[in-house]
């Protein structure tokens, strides 16, 4: 049985929660009209990305009005959106919420903050500590926010937990225009990472990236879907706002795992022992 989903390639306005909520509502309406049962937005889709000192100013508690509005809309379809979370202890997280059936189903806090080159997340956010599965009625979802995907352990942990949908919301800049290659270097890199995740961890890899420009940095779009065999099914290789619609079938995960039983043959406790050995050697 297939499920229709939309990856909403938005261009959030920096620091403008009202404008961004309106963009979400419009994309949700469009997804619903197109028969989608899930719609996913990019990283920090409600706030914009290069927030710096605006981070605290747009931070939301989990029951804040813009999130409540999305929760309400989730009575009709499952919604995933990015926001700055203000925890009860005052820490700020680069967070991603999934709403389903009128409830807040799950929040993932970005674990691997990116703090090098043009990025300063480690200065503005606290790091998440967990990779917990979101148990959606549409499958088991593992959220990896952008840089989370670059650390193989993130997807591997979700793989151990039996994730069907590796969801990667991103605010990835377009860069790398060398004539040696075709297209943006950044797009090529994401495609490589995602096809590897699909092939090695045998789930659907869903990449939803933003577009638009913040002080000279253009976000690269290129949202894409990779199947549980590691084959790219569809992509929106455009810098325009748009929605990538596709059908996913969880039975494909089972078929991939039947043909190549990677999870059966995985050795997590060997990894645990080896980690313990490495830890002892480092002491």
């Amino acid at each position: 049985m297939t499920t229709r989903l939309h990856l909403a390639q938005l261009d959030p306005t920096l620091g403008n929660l009202d404008a961004n909520l309106a963009k979400h509502v419009a994309a949700i309406d469009a997804a619903r009209a197109d028969g989608a049962e899930l719609v996913f937005f990019p990283e920090l889709s409600l706030s914009g990305y290069f927030l710096k000192d605006q981070t605290a100013e747009v931070a939301l508690a989990r029951d804040a009005a813009p999130l409540e509005a999305l929760r309400e809309l989730s009575k009709e379809l499952t919604i995933g959106a990015g926001f700055v979370e203000r925890a009860r202890d005052g820490r700020l997280y680069n967070a991603y919420a999934i709403f389903e059936d009128g409830k807040l189903l799950h929040v993932h806090r970005k674990v691997h903050l990116v703090t090098y080159g043009m990025f300063e997340e480690g200065r503005d956010f606290a790091a998440g500590e967990h990779f917990q599965v979101a148990e959606s009625k549409h499958g088991r979802i593992g959220v990896m926010i952008c840089e989370d995907l670059w650390h193989a352990s993130s997807a591997w942990l979700y793989f151990l937990a039996g994730v069907d949908l590796f969801l990667v919301p991103s605010a990835g800049p377009a860069r790398g225009v060398s004539a040696v290659h075709d297209g943006f270097g950044s797009t090529r890199t994401w495609r490589t990472l995602l096809t590897n995740v699909g092939a090695m961890f045998q789930g659907w890899a869903l990449y939803v990236n933003r577009v638009g420009c913040e002080d000279g940095i253009t976000f690269g779009g290129g949202s894409r879907v990779v199947d549980p065999f590691g084959a790219e099914q569809t992509a929106l290789d455009s810098l325009d706002v748009g929605a990538l619609a596709c059908e996913i079938d969880l039975a494909e995960c089972e078929r991939a795992r039947l043909k190549t039983p990677l999870r059966r043959d995985e050795k997590p406790w060997l990894v645990l022992r080896e980690l313990q050995r490495l830890e002892e050697e480092e002491r």
Binding site: L14, G15, D53, Q54, V177, D182, D215, G216, T218, L239
Partner: protein, 275 residues
């Protein structure tokens, strides 16, 4: 060591830069642009990008010769403007610049060149109000890194589409944008005095500088590895020194910190803030 890969995918670069101009100007409510058109390749490329972003009717290209400027530069600028469907505006800066240069008896070449560059900046920023458009920059990455520019002069702009392109890449983009061969084929010059060329003044060619800067800045090779790869140590050190010594031209003024929150130190917002 990898060979420097300076060639870009010009179509992709054009797409990014046209979107950049349109989006960033649009955020601030602008749909028009103003820029200086010197007859050189950098301003020709910026003008071509601005025309694609805003349409020729929304781009004001200003030719600002000084008495000693080569008349051929103006002719080249006119050819560029015509090829882009622009009606260029002529503002002779001689009287304006001489008002100061003659009064203060300035003879030093560098000082005179700086005054001319800053006079042009005054004209562009004034016309930007009359025209209702943002000033578009025309400084490339090579000259910005080498500091081969006048602070608050030719380096001043609101949006610079070509600031991340080395000179080699500006040439490549100029060919892609089908600019007149007259501006592509002539040696780059600041045209501050007769016979001046950038490469004579710098003491090395753009091609050499671009290859070195690409490896230093983009690929982060150190001096020893560049010398191993065949660059003259003296040349490498000269360029490294120039890049470091000219960092001040690329940054806003240094503010002395006193309070708990100081502009640019720990008061951190994008320009897009609130737009």
């Amino acid at each position: 060591m990898k060979e420097p890969q300076l060639d870009v995918q010009a179509d992709l670069v054009e797409e990014i830069l046209v979107r950049f101009l349109r989006t960033e100007a649009g955020k601030f409510g602008f749909t028009r642009a103003v820029l200086g058109l010197s007859g050189g390749i950098d301003s020709a490329v910026s003008a071509a990008l601005a025309v694609r972003a805003f349409g020729p009717e929304n781009v004001l290209a200003v030719m600002m010769p000084y008495a000693t400027s080569d008349p051929a530069s103006e002719a080249d600028a006119r050819e560029v403007a015509a090829s882009l469907g622009l009606e260029p505006r002529l503002v002779d800066i001689s009287a304006m610049a001489d008002g100061y240069l003659a009064q203060e008896d300035v003879e030093d070449r560098m000082r005179r060149g700086n005054v001319m560059a800053r006079t042009r900046m005054i004209v562009l920023y004034d016309l930007s109000v009359e025209w209702g458009g943002l000033v578009i920059g025309t400084s490339n990455k090579t000259e910005a890194l080498l500091g081969y520019s006048t602070q608050f002069g030719d380096s001043a702009s609101a949006l610079n589409p070509i600031g991340d392109l080395y000179k080699h890449q500006v040439f490549q983009l100029a060919r892609h944008l089908e600019l007149p061969s007259s501006v592509i084929d002539k040696p780059p010059s600041a045209d501050l005095f007769a016979g001046q060329t950038d490469e004579d003044e710098l003491g090395f060619t753009y091609e050499e500088a671009d290859r070195l800067l690409y490896l230093l800045v983009d690929e982060r090779y150190d001096v020893d590895r560049l010398v191993e790869a065949g660059f003259e140590r003296e040349f490498v050190l000269k360029v490294v020194r120039r890049v470091a010594m000219n960092q001040y031209k690329r940054l806003p003024p240094i503010i002395a910190k006193l309070s708990s929150r100081t502009i640019n130190h720990d008061f951190r917002y994008l320009r897009s803030w609130g737009h």
